[in-house]
């Protein structure tokens, strides 16, 4: 058997090793926290700015979101990245404004299990269109082959307003079938050139349609 004095150097060595391991764990923990925080902050904020956007890059009018410098040669990096990821070909906002709505005017996600009424007023003497897609940007197949209404194909009310019904089942008037697409996306495009040239109030073109949920199944 070893005496107490003979074991002392072993205990001392183990104690030192224990301290060093604790120190290494502490340093590794600090670095792991640092790297985690950098990744979450750096990539998270970048993803948010590119995918969702903020007031710096987007205009929000009720449920409608439009990227203010889409397609422009002087577009900010977030707008460029947004449309590059989306894979769309954008017209410059100097000619046309495009707004996308993923929710109704009450903030509920648009879904094909519900019927909606999209109501608005003709935005001046501009060409415009309203198209329904699924949330991946695909057209929704339907027997009527109806996917969009434009300022030239829509039936207006006598007072210049319009209403479009989004529903699975056929509906009288302007009807856009939603089939069983699941989550929906509505796109509203308006040509704004005349307003820009005549220097009219910018608010005139921002009277975007209201999306009202009628019923859900």
């Amino acid at each position: 058997m070893l005496s107490h004095s003979a074991l002392a150097p072993v205990h001392l060595g183990l104690h030192r090793l224990h301290k060093r391991v604790l120190m290494a764990v502490g340093i590794l923990g600090d670095w792991a926290t640092f790297i985690g925080a950098v990744l979450i902050l750096g990539l998270g904020t970048s993803w948010y700015m590119i995918d969702v956007g903020t007031r710096l890059t987007t205009e929000k009018h009720g449920p409608w979101v439009g990227w203010t410098s889409a397609g422009r040669a002087d577009a900010d990096p977030y707008t460029r990245a947004h449309f590059a990821r989306l894979g769309t070909l954008q017209l410059t906002t100097e000619i046309a404004l495009t707004f996308v709505a993923l929710t109704d005017s009450d903030g509920n996600r648009l879904h094909s299990s519900c019927d909606y009424a999209v109501e608005g007023r003709e935005p001046g003497n501009h060409w415009w269109s309203l198209t329904v897609f699924n949330d991946r940007g695909d057209l929704i197949a339907n027997a009527a082959q109806r996917y969009t209404y434009t300022s030239e194909s829509i039936a207006l009310r006598p007072d210049g307003t319009f209403a479009v019904t989004l529903a699975r089942e056929a509906s009288p008037g302007n009807w856009l079938p939603t089939g069983g697409a699941g989550r929906l996306a509505l796109m509203f495009t308006t040509f704004d050139a005349a307003t820009t040239m005549l220097g009219k109030s910018a608010d005139e073109t921002k009277q975007l349609p209201v999306i009202r949920r009628v019923q859900c199944r």
Binding site: G42, S46, A81, G87, L139, T150
Partner: protein, 192 residues
């Protein structure tokens, strides 16, 4: 007491460095994002378009849309251009109607040239796409003492990209007319 200990033992160098490093990562990720995507509009469209030739695309339909969120509210003629072998001339006449456009789009999605129709009169568009603004395009008629009888084409500096002529869909009755106007658009390569 615990909080005081935590603050005392915290690695302040790392805590202060974290926002700076996150900011650098944010900038790098944002700037790199357009180049990291494999599904940009240009990369989706380019394989189906012959170089320096205007093509009329078929109307967008379910399962046959060339791009996501491409509305069938318009018909398109497109020309994938490449000016590395020489300038490319583009010409089209936009009818006196609302909703017609001609744009020159870079692979990154920037509209480096865009024009829209006006209701009062037709809008003739004549462009010459050149690889750089310094490119020599030949001696102009004026330099040779000859008066021009036509509007000189507008030079646009671009190496690669897509010319997009967009005609608004006005329903079945106008389909032939819209297609005829789009087919009239030209995109032709010429030598230096």
């Amino acid at each position: 007491m615990k909080v005081a200990n935590l603050l005392k033992n915290a690695n302040w160098q790392l805590i202060l460095a974290a926002p700076v490093a996150a900011g650098i990562l944010h900038i790098c990720a944002t700037l790199a994002a357009p180049y990291l995507t494999a599904a940009s509009a240009y990369s989706r469209l380019a394989p189906g378009l012959t170089v320096n030739n205007m093509q009329l695309l078929s109307a967008a339909a379910p399962a046959a849309e060339p791009l996501p969120f491409m509305s069938p509210d318009a018909r398109y003629a497109m020309c994938r251009f490449d000016t590395s072998g020489g300038p490319v001339t583009v010409s089209a006449t936009l009818p006196p109607d609302l909703g017609w456009t001609l744009t020159v789009v870079t692979p990154q999605g920037d509209n480096i040239y865009a024009t829209a129709s006006v209701p009062a009169r037709p809008t003739p568009v004549s462009l010459v796409l050149v690889p750089s603004e310094e490119a020599f395009l030949g001696v102009t008629p004026e330099a040779r003492g000859i008066a021009r009888d036509i509007q000189p084409p507008t030079p646009v500096s671009a190496t690669r990209g897509i010319v997009v002529v967009r005609g608004p869909d006005k329903g079945y009755s106008y389909q032939r007319h819209v297609e005829a106007v789009l087919k009239e658009a030209r995109c032709t390569a010429r030598s230096f």
